[in-house]
Symmetry: C2
Subunit: 338 residues, 2 copies
DNA sequence: CTGAAAGCGCTTACAG
DNA sequence: CTGAAAGCGCTTACAG
């Protein structure tokens, strides 16, 4: 095998094929007609030299990176796994590379550190809630970098957002607890501060209570953080303080795991004594014991829609400012249904 | 706010600071001493102009991309989520960006398509089993691109591999089924063809049987594919064909979900009638019913170790050719323990 | 410690 | 349809 010290460049290919580098570039990109026979010679040379165009040179010359950037607060859990799957597939489908970066939940560690993803290395950015500070959003918007937000709305700038029907999903499942199972003291576990999903779910929760003539009791609202451990601690705390409750709307499925753990450890029967429901319908929800009643959120689709809108922006087309994907209640057994 | 049509370049900064672009480059990279006062002026200019160095230009000039490429067969499931988490954190820690690409399990769709990740846009590649064809590995190795394999060994080239103790982990858990629970007809569900993890686990399974004087019965070995659905179908098939068995080593935890589903649907009591065990210890394992006895694999650490070795290669340092991370049995209830 | 200049490897008007 | 040449925005010897 021929192992050249330096990888072949476009000039090597041009020389070998007996054409100019402009012609090589044209057959590479299909930007202009090239006489078939000439194109053939170029292709042969490319193969013979094992030529791969250097991305940096293309980017520098064309001013297009063909890369999408993804900012996430963290990677873990079934939630981000689904979202990432949707994003990756859609990006690939649209011909873009994907650069990812996690910021770590509260970005206080590096107050004004330059983002590793931005106008200098991507054609556009996808950002999930809590991964960008407001001033960064404003800056990116002001310099015209295509930007799409997921699960976060931002007022003041016209930035496309993809999110899901949190409020109605939450309202439905809480109504179900009340109507089908006669629950009246329903705990709500908030997600992380700043998480819009959580705020909307809380509104749905409150609305459902009020619709059914129940008062919102602040003592029943606690922090679950969309996390197993936090949710577990929250329930343990309610139990320790003897707060009476007959159901828990966990905020999300991840938190529901912690709720189930805490209840089980305390010898509280689910769903006989306390109903437990979640939100998201992660792939494991059916396998919990009892199988989790929850609200299905089309997470993967959020990812693919976000890419779709971002690509539109990059191409200079109009993008939808708000994409609201529907959610749907999934009844299993943890609510009390059989 | 000042919104320039074109983002500032190094030349703009140099002009504004009254120095040469070389000097700007130096304060940017800290490659050479610069008189503090001059450096200060440059910093001011950078801030004032909101200057961000274009990545492509740096890469082209320096011939370093500062980017790691990750090739995965797919993104989904708790397994890849953990691995990705380890990789992302380690890459960021080492100052590299991360470009990811999923190839889709059997790469037959695009026989000789150029990989979107390679010497043209990364300083090195991380590849999980089944994401690269052998000839691609050979090619990448031959051109000297730093490359680290995960859960896959490759003979012929000196390519660092990170993997886990599959065989002993499997042998231990199968031995446990025999010794602690008197199981004698233990099903093994293979992973995908070509998955080395699966081959080693199968050897561990066979070894444990033989050590205990049991014969390997080919009728008890079936394909689970490390997937829920495939595993479920495999068990359903065994059941339908009236093959007698008293335990299932599912291959991995994902498959164990399918096993549990099939058994439950058939009214077979786990673990009373049939013990079920998995491999990996994904975060949901403790929450299954019954809680899953399995083998803990340090997946996140596989990711971070892989980055560590890759960075060594990139820096021209010696890397360890084989990193074998230990696994550990985690006893819960699905085996029959209480 | 600093600057002038070459060079990284492409794309893209501009001519022809 | 094709080529010569400018230019993308940096880094890095080489002088001084």
């Amino acid at each position: 095998m021929n192992i050249p010290n330096r990888p072949a460049t476009i000039a090597d290919v041009a020389r070998q094929a007996g054409v100019s580098i402009a012609t090589v570039s044209r057959v590479l990109n299909g930007t202009t007609r090239v006489i078939p026979e000439t194109a053939e010679r170029v292709q042969d040379a490319i193969r013979a030299l094992n030529y791969v165009p250097r991305t940096a040179a293309r980017v520098l010359a064309s001013r297009r990176t063909n890369t999408l950037g993804l900012l996430l607060p963290e990677i873990s859990g079934a939630f981000f796994s689904s979202m990432l799957r949707g994003i990756e597939a859609a990006a690939r489908g649209a011909g873009f590379d994907l650069l990812i970066h996690t910021t770590g939940e509260p970005r206080h560690a590096l107050p004004h550190a330059r983002l590793p993803l931005g106008e200098h290395n991507t054609d556009g950015l996808l950002a999930f809630t809590a991964s960008l500070e407001n001033e960064e959003i404003t800056r990116l918007y002001s310099i015209g970098l295509p930007l799409v937000l997921m699960h976060q709305t931002f007022t003041g700038c016209e930035i496309p957002t993809i999110t899901i029907e949190n409020k109605s999903g939450a309202a439905h499942i809480v109504a179900h607890l009340i109507e089908a199972h006669g629950r009246r003291r329903i705990v709500f576990l908030r997600g992380p501060e700043s998480h819009e999903d959580s705020a909307w779910r809380e509104r749905g929760y409150c609305e459902a209570l009020e619709t059914h003539g129940l008062q919102v009791d602040p003592a029943l609202i606690s922090l679950g953080g969309f996390q197993r451990e936090t949710a577990q601690a929250a329930i343990q705390d309610l139990l320790a303080r003897d707060v009476a409750f007959d159901a828990v709307f966990s905020g999300d499925d991840e938190a529901a795991l912690g709720v189930l753990t805490a209840l089980q450890a305390a010898g509280v029967a689910v769903p006989q004594e306390v109903s437990v429901v979640g939100f998201d319908d992660i792939p494991f929800a059916p396998f919990l014991s009892p199988p989790l009643t929850t609200v299905r959120a089309p997470i993967e689709q959020v990812g693919s829609e976000a890419v779709k809108q971002l690509v539109r922006l990059i191409r200079g087309e109009r993008a939808d400012l708000l994409t609201l994907l529907p959610t749907e209640m999934v009844i299993r057994n943890s609510c009390g249904c059989t």
